[in-house]
């Protein structure tokens, strides 16, 4: 295959983004817009579907053992298994979000901006996965951030959305400045920015300038950590996740924070030996887990609860990665990669299901009221499909079989116990207890939805269009199928695990 072809994965969304915007702007002057299908949505859907073509081609090439890499002058773009995993996550969730938003965003002003930004964000995230130059990584990362600012503050007439947008912007801008400082330190001491070259010379220059490389690592951890929502840096997340439009919430929680994590791993892989920072990774993991779960227990707003649960899931993933770096265990690495994917499915499903309810109960009635947990009472009476899929999502997040989350957590556990290290095992037991604790807020949700007396909000709810239920059905089925046959993802998670361990030279 022509080496350049895989770059269409991000080129198509990026190029379609302005096209969608222009189509939307021109469409506004069309007086007959009401009766006709909206050009913007169709274009957006076509663009995401078109993106699958280069993606599948890239996967086929990858599986045939060929390397996917391409140089634009001196900057390389390399798609390894991790990039492909991230791209798969972005694409699957992105496609479903576009379908979901078909009706959901139909009445919003600035719909064309929504789709244009969504597509741009998707393209930038897929590109972020392929970046293999430290500064280029930052540019992708910053682009992703800029494209998500508007999406978070999309309901700009809502004061709370603006507030969330402000926090999100300032905190991620602070993080990105710290990343730049780190890049400057790396550049000053090594004279190179190519991740692979840095990794090869890493041992030498890291020992020559040990403290500097550590300082750069610290700056990377914190800088990218803001986006990846490590615990003391997470404060923007609950606000942004609860205020953005539902589809974006799913993207933020399902892919954006994971993209931050992957960017962090890539940057760190270039400059330091994992031994130096695995403890930091594990402590952030433990902190994220316990903080996310405990605070989620007290939430009364569904979206905030789900946002905090994202924190704890990032914690599980961090533990998986930390353990794999600790002992070079492939099981934990694969578990972490698998959990990235299953978390995307489950959290995407949970946020979309919550969004469906918001649409039916509030948006359709012209209100932007927050969906309270107590509003869920009796959902199954009127929206059986939504109730079932939200139940599947949260039970999967809680790690109950036969759902996908159980399987990915199990893989992380296998990795942890295989180290036969007392501390790691204690940490794994702690993770298992946390998982039990998380049932303390997931299980009542399910219970509430199957109550016989519906809440007032449910009674006033409007029917749901099929474009909203379709993504739910699809994701719910994926969660169940992966729970019964977790091996279906091995083709990608196993190479991704190898790539992760390869990044750190283990």
């Amino acid at each position: 295959m022509d080496a350049i072809r895989f770059t269409w994965m991000f080129a198509i969304p990026l190029l379609s983004s302005p096209a969608i915007y222009l189509a939307g702007r021109l469409g506004i002057h069309n007086p007959n817009q009401k009766g006709r299908p909206n050009l913007v949505r169709i274009l957006a859907l076509l663009a995401v579907i078109a993106t699958w073509v280069p993606y599948i081609a890239a996967v086929r090439t990858f599986l045939s053992g060929e390397r996917l890499e391409f140089a634009v002058e001196s900057i390389w773009l390399r798609a390894d298994a991790i990039s492909l995993l991230l791209a798969l996550m972005v694409l699957s969730l992105g496609t479903l979000v576009v379908i979901f938003s078909w009706s959901y965003m139909a009445d919003e002003v600035g719909e064309e901006k929504f789709y244009a930004m969504l597509l741009a964000m998707m393209g930038l995230m897929i590109g972020l996965g392929c970046a293999s130059d430290l500064f280029n990584l930052w540019v992708w990362f910053e682009g992703m951030a800029v494209s998500s600012y508007l999406l978070v503050a999309f309901y700009r007439e809502q004061p709370a959305s603006l507030e969330a947008g402000v926090k999100y912007l300032v905190q991620s801008a602070t993080g990105s400045v710290l990343v730049l400082m780190g890049i400057a330190l790396v550049l000053a001491n090594s004279g190179s920015l190519d991740l692979a070259a840095l990794h090869q010379n890493g041992a030498r220059w890291a020992s020559d300038h040990r403290l500097v490389s550590l300082a750069a690592a610290g700056l990377f951890i914190i800088g990218f950590g803001v986006k990846a929502a490590l615990v003391p840096l997470h404060t923007w997340l609950p606000d942004a996740h609860s205020q953005a439009p539902s589809g974006i919430r799913a993207m933020l929680s399902g892919v954006v924070i994971e993209a931050g994590l992957i960017a962090m791993l890539r940057a760190l892989s270039a400059i330091m030996h994992p031994l130096d920072w695995r403890i930091i990774l594990l402590s952030f993991g433990a902190l994220n887990m316990v903080f996310g779960n405990l605070v989620a227990l007290r939430q009364t707003i569904l979206k905030r609860m789900l946002a905090y649960s994202s924190l704890s899931h990032i914690g599980y993933i961090l533990l998986g990665i930390g353990v794999s770096l600790f002992a070079g265990g492939e099981a934990a690495a694969q578990g972490a990669m698998f959990h990235l994917f299953t978390h995307m499915l489950m959290k995407g499903l949970a946020f979309l299901a919550a969004g469906a309810l918001i649409y039916a109960l509030y948006l359709q009635n012209g209100s932007h009221h927050a969906l309270l947990v107590s509003d869920l009472a009796g959902t199954a009476q009127k929206y059986p499909m939504v109730a079932l899929s939200l139940s599947i999502a949260v039970l999967g997040l809680g790690g109950l079989p036969p759902l996908a989350g159980f399987m990915s957590k199990w893989q992380i556990f296998v990795g942890g116990f295989s180290t036969q290290n007392g501390w790691i095992i204690a940490l794994m037991v702690f993770m298992a207890l946390n998982s039990v604790l998380s049932l303390g807020y997931y299980a009542p949700l399910v219970n509430l939805m199957y109550r016989k007396t519906p809440s007032d909000a449910i009674l006033a709810g409007k029917p749901l269009p099929s474009t909203i239920t379709l993504p739910l059905i699809f994701l719910a089925m994926a969660v169940v199928v992966l729970g019964l046959a977790p091996g279906l993802m091995d083709w990608l998670t196993a190479p991704a695990a190898k790539a992760l361990l390869g990044l750190f030279g283990n």
């Binding site: 602070t174 550590l214 300082a215 609950p238 794994m428 039990v436 299980a443 009542p444």
Partner: protein, 590 residues
């Protein structure tokens, strides 16, 4: 053949669950037919499976990844328990046709019962620790969903949560044990663990052994996790009979029995098991003594009887424990189902409001008494033989003090059983209750179970033969039914136990002779009342402990929640503090 049957035993109920869920709530008749059809056919197949039991994996399917091979082993232990689950399950489903008539959201009920039956079979047949855990968690999920079935009732909701959290905390023990075993053996196969136990380092083996004990104690509601089972009685009665008396709570006993050969050498493990069993038998017996809620009284007695089984394993009587497990499943299901018939008829669970119901529901009274006699351990009924067999084992191989306490427990059992029966069926009616006789489906299932309570002890011979033949690591001696009967009848423990039992029964007669035993003032009721309030209602203080744990978690959550100030400057401070912390950690090379 065994392979096909094993797969069908899991698949058939699950298929039923799926179909039930898909057919919706609109036509309850279809739901009844589907549920009864799939569960009864699973029950029949499970009986056929007994004929094909063997120690080799009946199914071996490469599952891949980090999960090991999916194996199903229909050996004596697994096949027997699978049969118990499927047969009692089908009877409970038949019973539900009457009991759940006209309930809303019936499909949720049937779907979870069928899901449970399949998962329980999978749990006992699985030859792979991962899948044991997999099914273990599904049973917990089903138990939660069914306890909270009446989810408009806050008591049912909190009872379900409690059961879920406690059994899941126990499940962490199973998870940790299974993974620790894997980390050493590189295999999830149970057979490999039993075979390779001696090669595992002592410390690790002890970790696994105690992890499994934790899991078993939580699942079987044993001391100190016994607090969840009484609260689980908010479930519909067939669920209590099936899940919280006959099957799921046995999973803990099953786990201990399954791995007994591997862990018997771990220092202190058998003693710990003995102690857990003994303490559960005693504390639950004492709690049953004063309970006023019929279902809670039965739940306490379940904990107590499970304590006997755990005790039996602790003293090395694996077969005795499984024999009692079988008998207990039959007579306790019988007791629950007939109690359910009473409750369904009179509309209350409070025994103080019942009384004199025997003349109005003669059939139910008769079968209940059969169950009660079996529970009390009166000769001829199945509970007698197995309990005495356990006591024999305890006298021969266990510590004498434990045996003494268990004897005392036998007396307690007799006492509370008679009290329960009397309060419900005899004496003067204490309140005007509208009573109607039970339906046909109820009579069929209780009648079948009553026959079982009279006869299952005859299966002792075949059962021991099956187990000794298919459990290569357990060293179970085959014993014919006649020999078992002779053993029991000539054992010293039996006669001691019978004397204690008579004392217990006699004590009840003395108590109830006095003019007005219940509920007005009487020295005994007063004493019991105080005892009940001070200790029993709090499960000997463990209820308090549970609440403390919950309160501590809530407190820390509230404190952490305060850190989310929502003010941008504080958020930035969080980032900078994290930066400082990371730099410091890196600087000092942590």
């Amino acid at each position: 053949m065994a392979g096909t049957l094993s797969v069908l035993l899991i698949g058939l109920p699950w298929l039923g669950a799926l179909l039930v869920w898909l057919s919706g709530d609109a036509r309850p008749k279809i739901l009844h037919i589907l549920a009864v059809g799939t569960s009864v056919s699973a029950g029949l197949l499970s009986l056929i499976l007994l004929a094909f039991a063997g120690s080799q994996p009946a199914v071996n399917f490469k599952f891949g990844g980090w999960f090991g091979d999916f194996t199903l082993v229909a050996d004596g232990l697994g096949a027997t328990l699978a049969a118990v689950a499927c047969v009692v399950g089908s009877l409970a489903v038949i019973y539900s046709v009457d009991y759940m008539q006209g309930e809303a959201q019936l499909r949720r009920y049937y779907a979870f019962i069928l899901l449970f039956i399949g998962a329980m079979t999978g749990l006992v047949l699985s030859g792979n620790l991962f899948f044991t855990f997999f099914f273990w968690e599904i049973t917990a999920l089903c138990s939660y969903a069914l306890i909270s079935y009446y989810n408009d009732d806050p008591k049912a909701v909190s009872g379900g949560m409690k059961a879920l959290i406690i059994t899941q905390v126990g499940g962490v023990g199973l998870l940790a044990g299974a993974l620790a075993a894997f980390s050493n053996l590189g295999s999830f196969q149970i057979a490999d663990l039993l075979k390779g136990a001696t090669s595992i380092p002592a410390g690790l083996l002890a970790f696994i052994a105690y992890g499994f004990l934790l899991a078993a104690a939580a699942k079987s509601a044993q001391f100190p996790f016994h607090t969840w089972l009484p609260d689980a009685m908010e479930a519909p009665t067939p669920v209590s009979a099936l899940i919280h008396a006959a099957t799921m709570v046995n999973a803990g006993v099953y786990l201990l029995a399954r791995f007994y050969p591997a862990f018997a050498q771990v220092p202190g493990w058998t003693l710990a098991v003995t102690l857990v069993g003994m303490l559960s038998a005693l504390t639950a017996g004492l709690m049953a003594l004063t309970a006023t809620d019929l279902k809670r009284a039965l739940a306490y007695s379940t904990v107590s009887q499970l304590g006997y089984m755990v005790y039996a394993i602790g003293v090395g009587g694996v077969f005795a424990s499984q024999f009692h497990l079988l008998n207990h499943a039959v007579f306790k299901a019988l007791l629950f189902l007939s109690a359910g018939a009473v409750i369904h008829s009179v509309g209350t669970r409070d025994m103080r409001k019942m009384g004199g119901l025997g003349s109005k529901m003669p059939f139910i009274r008769n079968v209940f008494i059969i169950g009660a006699l079996a529970l009390a351990g009166v000769p001829i009924f199945n509970g007698f033989w197995s309990k005495e067999f356990i006591l024999e084992a305890g006298l021969k191989q266990g510590p004498v003090w434990a045996f003494g306490f268990m004897l005392f427990g036998a007396g307690l059992t007799a006492f509370y059983t008679i009290r329960m029966t009397w309060l419900v069926f005899y004496g003067q009616p204490r309140e005007q209750l509208h009573v109607h006789d039970s339906g046909l489906a109820m009579k069929i299932s209780t009648g079948l179970l009553a026959t079982g309570a009279l006869t299952t002890w005859l299966l002792a011979g075949p059962l021991s033969g099956l187990m000794s033949g298919s459990l290569p690591y357990h060293a179970i001696e085959p014993i014919s039914t006649i020999n078992l009967v002779m053993d029991v009848l000539t054992g010293a423990g039996t006669w001691l136990a019978l004397i204690i039992l008579l004392v217990g029964a006699g004590l009840w007669v003395v108590v109830q002779r006095s003019p007005n035993p219940i509920p007005q003032a009487h020295w005994f009721t007063e004493l019991m009342g105080t005892f009940h309030e001070e200790l029993v209602s709090s499960s000997f203080g463990f209820e308090w402990l549970n609440q403390q744990v919950v309160a501590a978690v809530k407190k820390s959550a509230a404190v952490l929640q305060k850190t989310q100030t929502g003010e941008l400057n504080w958020n930035i401070l969080g980032i900078i503090i994290a930066l400082l912390a990371v730099l410091v950690m890196l600087f000092w090379g942590v």
